[in-house]
Symmetry: C2
Subunit: 123 residues, 2 copies
């Protein structure tokens, strides 16, 4: 049912945690299942490069796997490049997800956008 | 949104894993969210006491917390007593769950019943 990459990122998730004094924080909820996701960004003031990115979620394995992959994909990118990282790209990088789990994967994209928006408002 | 006990069992889940040569294994799926749950039981042949109980799930934090609590609650009980451990009792032990998450908590009860059934069929 799940690809090897999904199982890898689920059982060994990257970038789980919080960032103290993060430059941007985004929290979103999933109306379909009631789960929540929070993403923390540490952005370099001068270069606008994302130096660090962490997530926390109460969501399922699909939410964990997509956030793990998405945080890896935005790390080292500028905030403008990070905005282009779509949910579709994250799912492709994970070799796909079952249709019933696509709504879980949206949490990561939405939380990253919310965190970027939070950063933009503060700066 | 979540009680302290739920957060405790979610962030520090008890009895995660597999049991090799388990006396009973139960696997159930959640039609609502597509998640799966597997429970392993190690039952003493003579006393019918559950000596060990482990779980694995792809489910969300609520599924993790209820399975963690449920495995603790059936451990040391006979298989007959374990059948009486209801989802309601597990939720009460966790100081409740939000309504949207009740369907997740059913996974643990169903998987334990499936594992007990598996044990009964083999013996
Ligand atoms: S079921 Fe809620 S995030 Fe997947």
């Amino acid at each position: 049912m799940y690809s090897e990459k999904v199982m890898d990122h689920f059982t060994n998730p990257r970038n789980v945690g919080e960032i103290e004094d993060a430059s941007g924080v985004g929290t979103v909820g999933n109306a379909k299942c009631g789960d929540i996701m929070r993403i923390y960004l540490d952005v370099d003031e001068d270069t606008k490069v994302i130096k660090d990115c962490k997530f926390k979620t109460f969501g399922c394995g699909a939410a964990v796997a997509t956030s793990s992959m998405a945080t890896e994909m935005v790390m080292g990118k500028t905030i403008y490049e990070a905005l282009q990282v779509t949910n579709k790209a994250v799912m492709e990088a994970l070799d796909g997800l079952p249709p019933v789990k696509v709504h879980c994967s949206l949490l990561a994209e939405e939380a990253i956008h919310a965190a970027l928006w939070d950063y933009a408002q503060k700066h």
